[in-house]
Structure formats: C-alpha cells, structure tokens
Amino acid sequence: MIAWLGGRLVTLIVTTLAASVLVFFVLEILPGDPAQLILGVNAREDTLAALRAQLGLDQPILWRYVSWIGRFFTGDFGISYTYSVPVRELIAERLTVSLPLALMAIGLSTAIAIPVGVYSAYRRGRFADVATMGVAQVGVSIPNFWLGLLFILVFAVGLGWFPASGFAGWGGGLWPGLRSLILPALALALPQAAILARVTRSSVLETLGEDYVRTARAKGLTQRAALWRHAVPNALIPVVTIIGLQFSFLLAGTIIIENVFTLPGLGRLIFQAIAQRDLIVVESLVTLLAFAVILVNFLVDLVYAAIDPRLRIAT
C-alpha cells in the first residue's frame, strides 16, 4: 500500500514537472513583447529595454525556467508582468470565482444525475426511463456555452431574474455573489449531469444483475432496499471516476463559460494573460491546472480504494 502510494506520488511530481517544461518552452515561442504591450506604440527602444530588464526578460531562457520552477514548488509563482502583483495573489483572487463555480457545477450535476440515473435504472424500460434517457441524450449534445446563452436569453434578458453577466463579488454578502454564479453553474452542470446520469444508470443496471444483489433479494429485501443497500454503493465506483474526469473538464469548461458570463475567474485570467503576453501568469496557471488534474486523478484512485473493499485488500 505504501509503496503503491509512493509510486503514485512520484508519478504525480514527474508528470507535473514534464507539464511545466512543456508549457514554459511552448509559451516562449509566442510572438510579441510584453514590454511593448505595456508601454504602447510611442515607447522608445531604450524605454522598452529598461522595462524588459525590470521584468527580468533580459535573462537567458534556461535560467528563467530554473528560477521560476524552483520558486513554483515553494508556492511563489513570481510577479505578473502586467499587474505588477504576485501571480499567487492574482490566482487566489480569481479562485474565489472559479472554485465556487466549479464546485457548484459539480455539486449540481451530481445531485441531479445520481437520483435520475438510479431511478431510471429502477424503472428500466418504462416510459420514465426512456424519457429521461432521451432527455439525457439531448443534454449530452448541448454545448454548455449555448446553454449559457439560452439562460441569459430567458432568465436575464427575458425575465430579468438574474444578471446577464458579470460577477457581483463576495463583498456585498453571499447572495449577490451566488446569484451571479447560478446561471453559469447550471449551464456547466446540466450537460455534465446528462453524462453522469447515463453512466449511473448503466452502472446500477450492471450491479443489479450481480449475484450479491440477487442473494439480497432472496434474503427477502425489497427491490428498493436491495437497490439502495447493495446495488447503488457498488455502482458508484465508475460514477466517481467520471466525476473525477469531469472535474478536469470543468476546469477547462469554465474558460468558455466565464467568457459567456464575463466572470472574473481563472479562465478569463488565462485569456487575458495570453493576450497581454503576461507569460509568467499563463505558465504558472496552466502548470497549476495540470497539477490539479493529476492530483484529482490521484485522489480518485484513493477514493476507489476506499469504496471498493476488494481493491483495498488487493493493494
């Protein structure tokens, strides 16, 4: 078990390092000079050189990588070229938007999908099942940014219940902030819920056919009790995997949704930083996101072990 954990941890670090190398050197190819972007078209050559020196852009590329990655692992991501504040602060500020958004989306999608999926499996072949799975099939096919646009059309432009876009901030209390995240979270969550509901349904169906469920039924448990006590817990393993995978998808999904709703989250920060050639922000953020994805996959494996006693014994 410990050896297995250690092995996974090493993979985690090596993959993150590889990701950082990839990101850093690929981004360095980007044409465009951050100094010129900051100082505009009338800046003179000596002024540009002075700013480049100030930003450390006159150093050799290898040295810049080493000093960046060295500090990266201590949690110091450097100073943003454009904002002149620590990248860590920028990211922390944006996380207060993106993290609640991703969590709300994943919470919503799980809360919708698991009951629907289980119910659908329970009513297999009946109208309720066919109808929900039909809706899910359509749900899987709707791009979330269009769903977001439709929500804006109906709930913001039409009914005026929610702001069309923008983020009210947490300064004015919980509700205004949450209110500006509800539509984007729903737009992210519904297509994900459709996928998850389908996985839950087929997974529950599979376990319903297993011997231990039949035994439970034979012991005299009702169909429903057998379902909840035996089939569902076992069916959750693939579901957890999908939720884990969805997390990484959501991190990227928020990029477009944040653009639809103009939320000041990580996704817009990345867009903006690429456009402004604030490379240190892009590099740190992308590496961090890759790290998060790898970490989540790692955690999913742990949850696997926790849920499935067989795996626990085997490892």
């Binding site: 981004l27 072949g125 099939q137 059309l153 990029i255 477009i256 867009f271």
Partner: protein, 289 residues
C-alpha cells in the same frame, strides 16, 4: 408509485432492445445525413450569398424572404448556417483523421512492442490528459494564430491520446488470442500481424470512437470559434455566429437560437449514430448489455 411495485412484465427484451436501438440509430443517421446534405448543398446553392452584406436589411427577424432572419450585417442566417455546416464537418473530419492517424499507430506500436515503448506512449498520454483540452487548444491557436486550420490541428492533437489508448487497450487483449499467438509462432513479424489480425478486429471499436470524437470535435470547433480562436470571417461558423449573437442579444435574440440548434442537433445525430453503430458493429458489447 409504491416501493413494492415490481417491474411489470414487459415485451421480450430483444424486441424492446432492437426497436429502441434502431429508432435512435435511424434518428441519428437521419440527422447526420441531413447536416451532411446541407453542407453538400451549400457547395452549389444557398438561398443568399452567405458572405454578401446587405446593411440596409440588417437584424431583420425571420420572414418569408429570410426564414431564419438576417444578422447585423444583413447576411442571411440560413445561408450562413448551411455554409457553417460545411465548415464544422470539415474541421471535425480533419481533427478526427489527425487523431486517428496519430493515435492508432502509436497505440498499435505500444501494444505490439510493450516494454519501455509502451511505457513511454502511455505516460505521454497521461501527460496530454493532464492539460484541459480546451486550454491547450487556446494556447496552440494563440501561438499559431487563430484560424480553421490551426483549430483542426489543435483539436486533432487532442484526439491522438484518445485513439492511442483505445487502440492499445483493445490490441493488448487481441495479442493474447490464440490465432495471434499462432501467427507469431509461424514467424510473422509484428507489423504484419498488426495489419492482418489486430487492426481489422479493431475496426468496429475505432469507427464507434471516431463517431464520438467527431461529435466532440464539432463542439470544440464551435467553442473555439465562439471565443474567436477558430474559424475566421468571412467564412461563416456556428460558434462565431453565437458570439456575434451575444452582442445583439437585446436587439435580435433569435440570432442566438439557430446556430446553437444546429450544433446541438448535429452532435445529437452523431451521438445517436455512434450508439447505434456500437450495437451493430460490436456484437460483444451488445451481448453484454
């Protein structure tokens, strides 16, 4: 509804299954053919010139002359959607071909050789999966410049690990089959075995996956175009139409409806088709269900 309700005896399972599947397969095929036909038609005919401006007639809602209305430059939305279908299909097709072309040989190689090659390929796909696909597409298009061709490549690159893993996984189990072992004993090389025995048996799985990736690629292209990194004007694209629509959401809400509907229906069609194909082509999966 009550808890003790036992499921009603239904029709024999196979009929239910067969009719259900063929229905969704038929719908999928119909939708897919509809969009393919629309794209093909747009090559020779559209109601209006999809890039011709008519500023005097801008932002007109649906009318008989313009069944889906006109956009901010007075272009006919129907003509744009038809031409957009062509664009979506082309981008998605190339992306899938890039993905399969890169991924299948890699996966087959990993399965055939095993050892460090296998390890290298698998760890590389791990690495690729660590980057959110869209994010990477954004970076690639930022470096190479926005445009349909770069979008194809960016999306295609992301299909490589998908195909590589699928091919490797399925090929590994095939390599353990008796007839493959027999061929190996007969002194045939890895390449020959892969070509003669492994790949033909993978076709079904690969075609199903390709259909699904095709659908994903359409969404990805639309997403990239929506944020301005995909197909560029004057070529109409569904994603860009949605972006423009958002600017005019107060003045012309109908602009936001039709391009999104086109994306959803074409993706739905491909997904249904993929499900149907899986059942038709892969008897193993059908039996297991």
């Amino acid at each position: 509804m009550s808890a003790t309700d036992a499921p009603k005896p239904a029709r024999p399972r196979w009929t239910r299954k067969w009719t259900g599947m063929s229905a969704s397969f038929a719908v999928g095929l119909a939708l897919t053919l509809f969009f393919a036909g629309m794209a093909a038609l747009s090559l020779v005919w559209t109601p209006y010139n999809p890039i011709g401006l008519d500023i005097l007639n801008k932002l007109k809602g649906p009318t008989l002359a313009h069944p889906l209305g006109t956009d901010a430059f007075g272009r006919d939305v129907l003509s744009m959607i038809m031409t957009g279908a062509r664009n979506s299909i082309l981008v998605a097709l190339v992306a899938v071909v890039v993905g399969a072309g890169g991924g299948v040989p890699l996966g087959a190689l990993a399965a055939a050789r095993g050892g460090w090659i296998d390890n290298l390929v698998m760890r590389s796909t791990d690495l690729a999966f660590a980057f959110p696909a869209l994010l990477t597409a954004v970076i690639i298009t930022a470096i190479a410049g926005p445009g349909a061709v770069n979008a194809m490549i960016a999306i295609g690159i992301f299909n490589i690990p998908v195909f590589a893993r699928l091919t490797r996984g399925s090929a590994m189990s095939l390599w353990k089959r008796e007839y493959v072992m027999a061929a190996r004993c007969a002194g045939r090389g890895d390449v020959a075995i892969t070509l003669d025995h492994i790949l033909p048996n993978l076709m079904a799985v690969l075609i199903v996956q390709a259909t699904i990736q095709f659908a994903l690629a359409i969404v990805a292209e639309a997403g990239l175009s929506y944020v301005g990194l995909g197909t560029q004007p004057p070529m109409p694209s569904w994603g860009k139409m949605l972006n423009d629509a958002q600017t005019y959401i107060f003045q012309a809400p109908y602009l936001a409806i039709f391009p999104g509907l086109a994306i959803t229906l074409s993706v739905l069609g491909l997904n249904l088709l993929g499900d149907g194909l899986r059942d038709l082509l892969d008897p193993r999966i059908r039996r297991e269900r």
